[in-house]
Subunit: 258 residues, 2 copies
């Protein structure tokens, strides 16, 4: 294994710059930190560019990692200059972003479930939505252009690896997505505090797309007009957007199972 | 309004020390940051000890605050030494912790709903659970002794003010709580990945207590033995604990409403 000692090494500099959204977008790369995420990436066959490990890491994992990509030995101090978490557990990897076009989301089942995040702003919320959609069996997740960057480190961590396993389409326009969904016969169920009907009063059979919107302003007009707005009973002003997404996703799951 | 200029002022020092859990526990105080939380506290008549404002704050809010507690004018720089958020919006207040005994949680309805957090470790998750339980109409929230400190600033923020409005019993033992719940005829529904039954296959009628446990090890044996363990369909390894709590809470809500 090659050793890197300089903080000015090109790989180290690139990895460090991945904290910056513009650099992530320009390079098409993002950073994975910690053993759990990197094991997930290896198991999912996710494309890794190169990795950094410090002495603390278990040999078996290092061997697996070396089989996937170029792996460099660095000091724990050098690793901390790259990572955002306080405890990266001695391991980080640079991975290639992998989103798909809508054309690759074509439904494969009559009960297909899609999740749509339309302008969600908090990276942790977006990561939790991706994790929950994956858990609920969603075939894919679509993000509109006003949604926070998918490859933000907080989103990646909160997704608990689901970002590496699920089909993701990013930067979409609400108008285009609603058209596409309609063309495939999706029912669009839109979480919206101003809706007339409660979420459990509508039909979830067939192909369903669940939409949640911005934490403050909710989903965009395109979705509210094209879809069925539903509300969730709520004694308080609102629910966290990842909670709203979960309640709607699981309504589809439970109706299909009961 | 009195002005404080010194970082060594006793009120400022106390407020700053509230970042420390031990000091919070010893003093019985905690810190509220930002206009939204402080407006919630004023509206809920929550006991505030004293507050700090900088020039940026709107006069009406300052007037309201002065009617509630001693309010000091500080510089934005001094305020930042007190607060944990990057943008405290020019306002912070020291509030008194207010938890209740189980004896104050006696059910008042045959459809009473309680939320129990048994060893939840992440402050943000706990805050989101409190917010969701409040939204779902829970009469109270019970935290076992292994749960993260309720007055952690991240918990307070994630609760979006629900921490100021809901009945909270903290530091409880699982054995005592299960006994107490049984004595009032509560059905105890326990989220557990190893359960046999799905969450939508059990009866939620009558008084219900929903239990979620530690992010890694789940709920304690006392709850699993005394209650009905239920699982949530999940393609991934697990759900975020606040998501699991929401799915179970809303199963009670929807079953009572459909």
């Amino acid at each position: 294994m090659k050793v890197i000692q300089s903080t000015q090494n090109q790989y180290v500099k690139t990895a460090r710059q991945l904290k910056n959204k513009k650099f992530r977008q320009k390079s098409g790369l993002f950073l994975l930190e910690g053993t759990r995420l990197i094991c997930e990436a290896i198991n999912a066959g996710y494309p890794l560019e190169y990795a950094f490990v410090s002495d603390e890491i278990d040999e078996e994992l290092v061997a697996q990692l070396c089989g996937c990509c170029e792996t460099y030995l660095v000091s724990p101090q050098l690793l901390l200059t790259i990572t955002e978490t306080e405890n990266p557990q001695g391991i980080a990897a640079v991975a290639r972003q992998r989103t798909v076009d809508l054309s690759e989301m074509v439904p494969t089942s009559e009960e297909d479930l899609l999740m749509i995040a339309d302008g969600v702003q908090d990276p942790g919320n977006l990561g939790t939505i991706i994790r929950t959609a994956d858990a609920a069996g969603a075939a894919g997740i679509i993000l509109t252009a006003t949604t926070v960057d998918l490859y933000n480190s907080k989103t990646v961590r909160a997704s608990m690896g689901s970002i590496l396993r699920t089909k993701l389409a990013a930067n979409q326009s609400p108008a285009k997505v609603t058209q596409w969904l309609a063309s495939y016969g999706y029912k669009i169920i839109v979480g919206h505090v101003g809706a007339q009907r409660y979420y459990y009063q509508v039909d979830y059979s067939g192909k369903v797309a669940i939409v949640v919107g911005n934490e403050n302003s909710g989903p965009s007009e395109d979705f509210k007009t094209a879809g069925v707005p539903v509300k969730i009973p709520c004694r308080t002003e609102s629910l966290n957007v990842s909670i709203a997404a979960a309640v709607l996703l699981y309504e589809k799951v439970r109706k299909g199972s009961v």
